[in-house]
Symmetry: C3
Subunit: 134 residues, 3 copies
């Protein structure tokens, strides 16, 4: 199966656009499904618009849902890091996109965005697998 690993550095950016990296992977492929996966327990993949403030609106929503100052049982890492471990239950690290003649099927405003409120680990990997049709 055609696959690739993309190495990313998030640092303090908690929303990172990875659309171009995924599109580069599928560019020389035909029709099929592309599976995107983060092998991490504190990050997720979202399809959202970027550039009009939505990424910060999302961060605020995450802070409301999973406040960093709540007491978490998970006690490793920096204060409040426990909430980063809850996030992938709601923003999954697994995502499937369709590919037509090598092109990712996406709406005009949709970007593939790595959501990573975890400040403790800036090194991230995105795993891509392509399953061709027929």
């Amino acid at each position: 199966m055609d696959s690739a690993e993309v190495r990313l550095r998030t640092g303090r950016r908690w929303a990172l656009d990875v659309t171009d990296e995924v599109a580069a992977f599928t560019a020389d492929k035909g029709d099929g499904l592309c599976h995107l996966f983060l092998p991490h327990a504190t990050a997720g993949l979202a399809l959202i618009e970027l550039g009009s403030g939505t990424e910060d609106d999302l961060l605020e929503a995450v802070e409301e849902m999973l406040p960093r100052d709540r007491r978490y049982r998970h006690a490793h890492g920096s204060p409040g890091h426990g909430r980063d471990h809850v996030l992938p239950a709601f923003v999954s690290p697994s995502l499937v996109l369709a590919v037509e003649s090598g092109h990712l099927v996406l709406g005009t405003w949709q970007r593939v965005v790595l959501i990573d409120p975890n400040l403790d680990n800036p090194d991230r990997r995105l795993l891509l697998h392509f399953l061709p049709a027929g």
Copy 2:
């Protein structure tokens, strides 16, 4: 790859059952996976029961999580529309279902539901792709 586009009109209905449309697409196919996708930045797909009030319970939960009267950075559209852009991070516009002999594999009470609290855009498209097994 076998694909189809379903045109939908949501209007003020924020939960729209699309199960029959998806089932019609897969009916003449064999075994495989069906990829469902909304090319929109303010809608998602959920697998929930309909008809016992869950759709309104979900709307209430969304209103609690992402209140329309919160201040959003995203400032286009009608008041509170910014929250519609956050929704797809939690209710993904991408969904995969298994298909056996043309039949969608679903539980008795599960329906495929387009979740769309966005009142600004009543015209929606659902993109379907079928990947056959072997």
Copy 3:
């Protein structure tokens, strides 16, 4: 298409590790995608770390988002059961994982976890389908 049904008993355990069951299913397969599916309207699948308290942190987050003592329109089952029907909109019962030479592609800390806050139905089924590459 290669498929299997795993029968599970959740009882009062609302987070059940099913990674080993999925890995056993894919062990004799090659490269491809594995589709995991719960044919239930009150459960979801999450990729989270287990064993450091995250499962209880997640339950607490679910209780905050969807408190059992809120009034739900869905009125069947034990008090507050209506919120169990909302959960799958946020924690989807559908999940896709990549498989390489029979091995599930997962990060070191990721486990496949059945999330099931529903105390009314302890009998659960997990449906697995494998789509081989090429």
